[in-house]
Symmetry: C2
Subunit: 157 residues, 2 copies
């Protein structure tokens, strides 16, 4: 079993290094964070659909899973994907990170903590099944997202 | 606050619909699942580094966060991203999903449940801080990944 296990790992991580994380380190970081936020957008979209746009489709377990997924992203240590120089480069696409990100560390900390705290609170509220409270907290998470985008993300070209 | 909240949501989801989920629905599903797995690969890479390759760098909180992130992906309802026809199409890149995926629903269920169960078990074991047990369980998750890749993912072109 040990050999099989090691073999599986070798195969998987050879595949990873040959595709998902190909390219120079800065571009890898950009690709990973673009993936993290796109996965987040999918989950946020599900919550928006079920608690804002079409509350008749609300499914408690699905909203809990989506909120937990967003919180897991927010708690995953994304800071490691914002190395020096990563305001330039291409992951899945050209990064939109503004150079200001590296000039305003206090503002970065503030938006990062807001994303973490509002996400964890959303996961907590989602578990209660109180749709009104989930909607309110989802709005707060949206403001945390927007605050970072306004400060540190360039407009779509 | 309500208006501000709604405005933030509108801005965020306009941005999402204009970029992350642009294109036809099949391509959106492919992009979301590629994002989910790339985010998973980043977290698996951190665990591999800290418990397999460089155990002297083991950080309990970081491994817990990474394991929770993988489990959250596995529990997020990825099945919704495998709609009919999504063995063709381009998300961030051309999909490698084999047509066999749609011909062997029992095998799909089997690999999906293995991914979910081994991920949840890894999150449970990570919380104990027992590095040997984490390594063993990480190997089991690797086998679950490999099993799906072997059956349903085409080789890199």
């Amino acid at each position: 079993v040990k050999f099989k296990s090691k073999f599986a790992l070798a195969v998987i991580f050879t595949a990873v290094s040959a595709s998902a994380i190909a390219g120079k380190d800065e571009d890898q970081q950009i690709k990973f964070r673009q993936s993290a936020y796109t996965f987040t957008a999918w989950n946020a979209g599900k919550i928006k659909s079920q608690v804002v746009d079409h509350p008749e489709t609300y499914n408690k377990d699905q909203v809990i899973a989506a909120a937990n997924a967003i919180a897991a992203v927010a708690n995953s240590g994304l800071g490691a994907l914002y190395g020096p120089g990563t305001d330039q480069g291409t992951g899945w696409k050209k990064t939109r990170l503004k150079p200001e990100f590296f000039e305003k560390p206090e503002d970065v900390t503030k938006v990062a903590l807001a994303f973490r705290d509002e996400s964890n609170e959303l996961a907590r509220v989602a578990a209660t099944g109180d749709v009104g409270a989930i909607k309110t907290q989802f709005g707060k998470l949206g403001e945390a997202c927007k605050s970072c985008h306004d400060k540190f993300r360039a407009k779509e070209e």
